[in-house]
């Protein structure tokens, strides 16, 4: 009997409980519980409602701890499993540059290179100008630009105009030489008082200034593959002054004066390359390289290194019995030019076979192509 009484009581309790729950909830309470349950639906925006687990049947807004998955840059990372759980296409790591306020991020630390940019906040990004600059490495803007006395690399700037517009103090193209400069507060030694700003942010080294570098030192740079691959010389530089004493240059001066005597006027331009090809080149070879045998007593050390060179001249002024002439000489140093034999080495046959093969082999590194340009002005006396 007791057994039946117990079962009846139980059924009655459940029935009353169920009836009370269903009947006692107001419409507002039912809507609220429905909203609380739907708040736990991660697929709501896709229009799909799965069975959602709930402990209070929606009576309370239940909150689930999702902090085990955190977002780091573009990746979702499970901090307990120590594993990447997903990749986010939203590039929110630089949210300041995306101009999307719904994406938030913050700096984890001051800029570790802050000392390199003392005039900028250590929390700035691309000089607060994300439209103009990018920072692909995350270290610093990249191309050689100067700010507050320090040179840095900024790949987005390719001209002095761009650098000026961006607020930089100065600009240099890759491969430039800066005189009287330091690297990390240290000066060069052995006459290397300049700094070579190379083809990337790591290509920086001490070098000889153009004003004092000798043909031998330029030759060493070419052969070793270290240092500048292009030098631009001008009036007063040691190399320029040496080249100016070359017999060929003196002969060209005579030709220019003859041109003026025959009526040449300001603006006239001439081309007078110095070549070593043909039978005539043999004598030049002997003379130019005799410097090596006579310790510089014969020939011209500049031309011993240069070999042949291109030369143009331009009359820029004639007055009071003098003519002002602008000279420009160009030279390239390649393994082909250094190794070619007289006469045969200047033929198309050699160039298209051995010559091109040699240059291809030495296309980079030691013995690879270097160039020199000489610009100088002279005043010639008209007889």
């Amino acid at each position: 009997m007791k057994k039946y009484i117990l079962l009846f009581t139980l059924f009655l309790s459940f029935g009353l409980s169920f009836a009370q729950t269903k009947d006692s909830l107001s419409v507002e309470e039912q809507e609220k519980r429905k909203r609380n349950i739907e708040a736990g639906n991660p697929f709501k925006k896709f229009g799909y409602t799965p069975k959602i687990a709930t402990l209070s049947k929606g009576k309370y807004l239940e909150w689930h701890d999702l902090d085990s998955i955190v977002r780091i840059g573009s990746y979702s990372f499970h901090v307990k499993k120590k594993d990447i759980t997903g990749y986010n296409t939203d590039e929110d790591k630089n949210s300041e540059s995306t101009l999307r306020p719904e994406l938030t991020s913050r700096w984890l630390s001051p800029d570790p290179l802050a000392e390199e940019f003392p005039s900028w906040s250590p929390y700035n990004f691309v000089y607060n100008n994300p439209i103009r600059y990018t920072d692909p490495t995350g270290l610093a803007p990249e191309d050689w630009v100067k700010k507050d006395g320090k040179w840095t690399w900024d790949e987005n700037i390719t001209s002095a105009e761009q650098a000026k517009a961006a607020g930089y103090d100065d600009y240099r193209a890759p491969g430039s030489i800066i005189d009287n400069a330091m690297i990390n507060g240290k000066t060069g030694s052995g006459g290397k008082t300049s700094v070579y700003l190379g083809q990337n942010s790591n290509d920086v080294s001490f070098t000889y200034p153009n004003s004092t570098v000798t043909p031998f030192q330029v030759g060493t740079e070419w052969l070793s593959g270290n240092g500048p691959r292009n030098r631009e010389f001008t009036n007063g530089d040691f190399f320029t002054e040496l080249l100016k004493t070359h017999d060929h240059i003196e002969g060209v001066r005579g030709n220019i004066l003859a041109e003026i005597a025959n009526g040449a006027e300001v603006g006239k331009t001439g081309s007078a390359p110095y070549g070593l090809g043909g039978v005539q080149g043999v004598g030049k070879y002997v003379k130019d390289y005799s410097t090596l045998a006579t310790a510089g007593q014969t020939g011209n050390l500049a031309v011993t290194y240069l070999g042949s060179y291109g030369l143009t001249w331009n009359i820029t002024g004639i007055s009071n019995g003098t003519a002002t002439v602008q000279f420009t000489a160009t030279n390239s140093s390649t393994m082909q030019s250094a190794s070619r034999p007289p006469i045969l080495g200047y033929t198309p046959l050699w160039q298209n076979t051995m010559g091109s093969a040699i240059n291809n082999y030495f296309s980079s590194g030691w013995g690879s192509r270097t160039t020199q340009t000489f610009n100088w002005t002279e005043t010639l006396k008209i007889n």
Partner: protein, 133 residues
């Protein structure tokens, strides 16, 4: 032994002949010469010339406009340069330069002839070459 000696002498003579061979005469130059870049020089019998669409950067290293083309006219002559090499001198009011002469064969000294100037350093063997039409 004598045969080998004879062959050496013949070889040297042929070599020397090939070196001095190939001296174009004025009559060989009369006509229109064109380069691959569209430039043209008309060399006339009366020792005048007309040049069209010449790339200035090949004549003047200081020019800022690397694409600049110019027309000019003046006088020409066969002469020698400072080193006794036979050249065709081109002279106008604005430009003066020497055309070097090259031909066919291993040493490039047989007709038909080409006229060229060096582009930059002659070591690079880059030529601004004109071929007779």
């Amino acid at each position: 032994m004598k045969l080998a000696k004879g062959l050496w002498i013949i070889g040297i003579m042929l070599m020397m002949k090939s070196c001095v061979n190939g001296q174009p005469q004025e009559q060989d130059l009369i006509g229109t010469w064109k380069s691959d870049d569209g430039a043209k020089i008309e060399i006339k019998e009366n020792f005048t010339f007309v040049a069209e669409q010449i790339a200035v950067s090949n004549l003047d290293f200081t020019t800022e406009n690397q694409d600049l083309r110019v027309d000019f006219m003046g006088k020409w002559e066969i002469t020698t340069d400072m080193y006794n090499k036979k050249v065709v001198k081109i002279n106008s009011n604005k430009y003066t330069f020497n055309f070097y002469i090259s031909g066919q064969g291993m040493l490039g000294n047989n007709p038909p002839w080409d006229l060229y100037i060096w582009i930059g350093d002659p070591d690079d063997l880059n030529m601004y070459r004109f071929v007779k039409q």
